[in-house]
Subunit: 375 residues, 2 copies
């Protein structure tokens, strides 16, 4: 039975949920301050990286990320069709490199862990890495090739989702939700006093969740903001016909123990990220973080020195205590959670949206998803 | 006899000349694409530094810079009075520090040179430097205190000059001069086809001079653009009452052979500069230059890491082969040059403006100024 659903949040999770719900016949409203234009999704690199994001002790999360990755090709094709524009979905694969001997040892440990989980990743000599990525520094000590870690242009993705939502009849309300007024048909209270609803609520407000009142009984974990700085670099004077791009695949690096990544876009620009900082809700761009990113990135790809600094920005990843999202009906009547995606919001957007459609349709969930239900 | 004078250029030199000419009874028009809002003057730090800018082999230029500095207190007072706003003129003095032993040795050589010219500068131990500037890195090896090197807020200065010019009746024409049409009363040809004049011409177009046609017989030296990047940093979340500023005086540094400076403003912000790059007329902001500035600046003042990156920009200093400006009547009838100020445009603005008033009034010049006449 079609429902009226109010999606709180205009980042990649909120937009993907809204689009999928609308495609499945529901009547959907998105409520967010600036749908598709703010929040962590916009300040992301768009890596779809189940393998290179696999961390020791998080094998359940890794299984989820792999399942999320599996849904991407069909999701990308459907979205590009619905929106009528490209989203830069790119399956070239990723190389992770080590700068010094200690970084090389850490990378070898990680590779052994990847293999213990059955993940596809292959040790590469320094010269083999340079064959894949000619712009690598001669100092690089070798690395790992990961064919299954891909990328999407996160900003093109957000724009496409907004288009697709509009085409599917989703209504957009610009505003900040300050409270959920619970009940069998919960209402939303906006910061400016407006009330919306009643209707089911899908909570997809990222790092904004803790500021929403009325969710005391929802059983949500603490969601805390984890600040990340990124840089956007580009060829001097813009893209030029005939000149080769600096990079043609995503390069990640361990640089004296720091993680850094460089994600090339089709227009010749490169996204460099990302710091991981526990600093509360501040999104100012700090000199020290910009220095750290440039320092680590140029250590593995010195050619970035010649690129133009187009943008420096910071976003807030919504992190839970176990780094795993919560997707499911909450303890608050009529409220579905789609929160806490931390570093994996873009990768998990198709999976989350599909799960939310199943939840709203009261269909059974796969055990992998069922395990994400709020306590 | 009052003349009609057309000043080409809306940077600090053009504005200062226009204001002084108008104050002296001349009828003045400024022609520039965006007076006070573009060019090298806006992307400057505003150091007034005859001593710390004194280079080996440039003692004549140093004498000029000292004379330029001598005119500043009266110029600043008159300008603030005429414009009705403050320009951040600050005579606290400068400290130059050395990061490593080799930098310390270079600084000692420079200090001996300063003393040979009779300049005021005093060797300071590392702890004496830290007593003057508590935010200095513990790694700093000592330095030099230079009480006579001061600063002005270059953007406040430009705004004040525009105000003062308007108050004095200067006319502003927004446009780019593409040619001087010579003659006893030269005319200006603008890029959009407009013609201005006839009237005397004061050429103060900085790095834009080589693009102006009709000056073949002027006897001007080659003026080439020397790119400089600067950063503007500020306290996170803006200036806060009760919190102490990171710096209260200008700090210059030699950092493994690189020169860097940090100039604090009254609002708590800090200007960090500057690269010196021969790259033609490009003003894009490059990742490598931003890295270099941050790297060198944080080596001597680590606390900048916590500041917000407010702006990164690049400008083009107008340099002559001998680093000295040309001020005087050119070989082209009716055209006065005020060009080639390289790194010292702000410092030399009052001196240049006074000289131009004397030139237009056909009064005799001091030998120091006469030596700057175009060949």
């Amino acid at each position: 039975m079609p429902a009226h659903v109010q999606v709180v949040g205009g980042g990649v999770i909120g937009l993907a949920c809204a689009w999928e719900l609308a495609r499945n016949g529901h009547e959907v409203t998105i409520v967010a301050p600036a749908p598709g234009r703010d929040g962590a999704s916009r300040v992301a690199a768009g890596m779809l990286a189940p393998v290179t994001e696999a961390q020791f002790g998080e094998s359940a999360l890794t299984a989820l990320l792999l399942e999320g990755s599996r849904l991407w090709p069909a999701f990308a094709a459907a979205l590009e069709g619905a929106a009528g524009c490209a989203i830069g979905y790119d399956t070239t694969g990723t190389v992770t490199v080590a700068l010094d001997a200690s970084d090389r040892a850490s990378l070898d440990d990680l590779l052994a862990y990847h293999h213990s989980l059955g993940l596809r990743a292959q040790r590469k000599s320094a010269s083999a890495c340079r064959a894949l990525v000619p712009a690598l520094s001669p100092a690089v000590r070798g690395g790992i090739e990961v064919p299954g870690d891909h990328q999407v242009d996160n900003r093109a993705l957000l724009d496409a989702l907004v288009q697709a939502c509009r085409a599917a009849g989703v209504a957009f309300v610009e505003g900040t939700v300050s409270a959920v007024d619970p009940g069998p048909g919960p209402e939303l209270v906006l910061a400016d006093g407006r009330r919306l609803g009643p209707g089911l609520v899908v909570l997809a407000a990222g790092a904004g969740v803790p500021a929403i009142a009325g969710l005391e009984g929802a059983g949500l974990p603490t969601v805390r903001p984890v600040k990340g700085h990124i840089l956007r670099l580009g060829p001097q004077g813009g893209p030029r016909a005939g000149s080769a791009p600096l990079l043609t695949r995503t390069v990640r690096g361990l640089v004296r123990g720091h993680s850094v990544y460089l994600v090339p876009r089709r227009d010749g620009s490169v996204v460099v990220g990302a710091t991981v900082e526990e600093r509360g809700g501040d999104t100012s761009v700090q000199a020290g973080a910009v220095h750290e990113l440039l320092c680590d990135a140029r250590a593995i790809v010195p050619g970035i020195d010649e690129l133009e600094l187009l943008e420096a920005a910071a976003g807030l990843r919504p992190a839970t205590p176990d780094n795993s999202p919560r997707i499911g009906w909450t303890g608050t009547d009529g409220v579905v959670a789609a929160v806490g995606h931390y570093r994996n919001g873009i990768l998990l957007a198709p999976l989350t949206a599909a799960a939310v459609v199943d939840l709203v349709g009261r269909r059974p969930l796969a055990p992998l998803i069922e395990a994400l239900a709020p306590a």
